[in-house]
């Protein structure tokens, strides 16, 4: 439960560690307990087949990734880069990957995609740049692509780049990503601009509230990138176990419906990490999610492993 405390401080010691302290973590859980919808935030135990020793295993869904046009043959982990438009996401991407990148389109779509790689610690990471979106409710093709990648590709880590000067607007996307996946690192970019505009953004407070690492960066000046990668590495290898915040306060009109659906989903796929989100999407009439549910493609984050075909494990779950 207290794995958060074990998160190592950032490598160079220049920045304070962003991990919440144990007390605050307990506070958060106390706060969350009065909301009945929080029971699914508990991380999933690894399947016996994967064995308990494999906490550092990759969780991404290699089969789904292939159909999303990402080949994981030479990589250990896959990291998705999400964010609103105009938050310096491509700067972050370029700074991390350098010239090791190539651009193309998403399979079958006319939406550009950039892909690159980096090495950190002992692992090789593939970094996939998702389209810049304000939301993930699949209103546009961009949103659909970003959503599908996070949901079905199950990246080992999703970095959400946010603009420190427009935090509220950007948190909209962060909260939506946190509903789908636990494995998130928030890159609090444009800290220099925020300072220039007389804004102080408390990254520790934010990390506490969101339950995931929040790393302040100035990608343009290459500041904070090492810390960002460190956090990514810790989440990917399981050293750091995020306890993500889930959106508070289901509106009363939806509460009954959401609870009923969640109860059924819980029975259908015990431990589905994003049951509430799935319930909300079903209530919104999202056909992609409905199809994924009936075809058994809504695996848990821990259920798919690179070494095994994803389908069989998911099927075992459902």
């Amino acid at each position: 439960m207290n794995t958060l405390n074990e998160k190592t401080a950032n490598g160079n010691g220049g920045q304070p560690p962003m991990a919440p302290a144990g007390f605050d973590q307990q506070m958060i859980q106390l706060l969350e307990e009065d909301d009945g919808d929080q029971k699914f935030t508990i991380n999933i135990e690894p399947l016996p087949a994967v064995s308990a020793a494999c906490t550092t295993c990759a969780v991404h869904n290699a089969a789904n990734l292939r159909s999303l046009g990402v080949d994981m043959a030479e990589w250990d982990f896959v990291v998705a880069l999400a964010g609103n438009p105009n938050v310096g996401k491509s700067t972050v991407f370029n700074t991390i990957t350098g010239l090791k990148q190539h651009t193309g389109n998403w399979p079958g779509k006319t939406v550009s995609r950039a892909e690159g790689g980096f090495e950190f610690g002992e692992s090789r990471y593939k970094l996939v740049d998702l389209p810049g979106t304000y939301s993930l409710l699949a209103t546009s093709m961009d949103e659909e692509i970003a959503r599908d990648f996070i949901l079905f590709g199950q990246p080992d880590v999703t970095i959400v780049v946010v603009d420190a000067t427009r935090l509220e607007r950007n948190l909209n996307l962060v909260l939506q990503v946190l509903e789908i996946t636990d494995r998130v690192v928030v890159c609090l970019n444009l800290m220099d601009e925020a300072r220039r505009h007389g804004l102080q953004v408390d990254a520790r407070r934010l990390a506490l509230d969101l339950g995931v690492p929040v790393i302040p960066t100035e990608a343009r000046h290459k500041r904070g990138i090492t810390e960002l990668l460190q956090a990514v590495d810790e989440v990917a290898t399981g050293t750091y176990e995020p306890k993500p915040h889930r959106i508070q306060g289901t509106p009363p009109v939806l509460k009954n419906a959401v609870n009923q659906l969640m109860a059924q989903l819980e029975k259908l796929a015990p431990g589905l990490p994003n049951a509430r989100w799935v319930a909300l999407r079903l209530l919104d009439g999202d056909q992609t999610i409905a199809d994924a549910l009936s075809e058994g493609r809504l695996g848990t984050l821990a259920s798919a492993n690179t070494s095994q075909p994803a389908g069989s494990l998911v099927a075992a779950q459902l």
């Binding site: 304000y134 939301s135 409710l137 209103t139 546009s140 000067t165 427009r166 935090l167 509220e168 607007r169 909209n172 919104d284 009439g285 999202d286 056909q287 409905a290």
Partner: protein, 345 residues
Amino acid sequence: MIDPLIALLVAGLLAGITALLFWPERGLVIRWRRSRQISERVLAEDALKHIHEHEMKGQPATLESVAGTLHISRDQAAQLLERAEENGLVSMDAGMLHLTPDGRNAALHIIRAHRLWERYLADQTGYDEAQWHGQADRIEHSLQPADADALAASLGNPTHDPHGDPIPDATGQFVAHGGQPLTAIALDHPAQIVHIEDEPETIYAQLVALGLYPGMTVRLIEATPKRVRFWANGDEHVLAPILATNISVVPLPQTVAVAVEDDSETLADLKLGERGEVKAILPRCRGAERRRFMDLGILPGTVIAAEMISAGGDPTAYRIREALIALRSEQARMIQITRHTETAA
């Protein structure tokens, strides 16, 4: 070389003939294709729809009502219904027409296709209200159940059409809107519009012109055989009872406030440097655009400041949750606000 005058004349003639043949919507080719579409199948399907409608009202359809609605003679109607009966779609009982289970399924599919298409036109296209019904009346006969399902999926499986009518789902289930005519509710009691009848077209056009849409809250002030007076959307409306009965409402708890005589300002009324708090996005803003507004953070309670006007005079840039977003004037007119009296710094 050809004489230029003759060349010009011949070319002009050719252009004229081409236009006559292929002009969109009014060209001869289009007209010919449209006239071919009114086939017997279409008539039969319309008859099923009509019978279903009457069943829903609890007053079975008759041979006469079918003939009247479809604008065909009694003999033609009789032939049509005879064939429908042979196909096991309709049963006749003492002059009253009833649908068999198969007939009801067929009717429901047509209704589903019609309402889905209206939803599609409303949410995803630029056609205006007046054209929805007519287009849907044509399309409903050519959408196969699989097409309808695909359309529904792409629209997010909507439950209601833009007039407030329920769209039967793929299994044929639906829940009727359950409204009562506006004229039937208690005076001074808040109610919500759940349905606006889209036939006849002229009445519907008038109601749309008044800015009345499903989802709006209303309060009745006066209902006499001469006129019906009510508040809706911050305006007082006066309608002839015949028009008012085409609006269906459900009563709301007494505690719900109905906007009465407010200034009813929109974002477009803000001058540069002024701020306003969003009250609502008007119902005529639909589909992707409405969702986009909300994703951008335009929600009840959001404070928005007008910041710059384009050199071309139209889009205005608004500060919305710290970001600068340009909205065209017709978009800004769809966002209702209350003005903040103190101006932005």
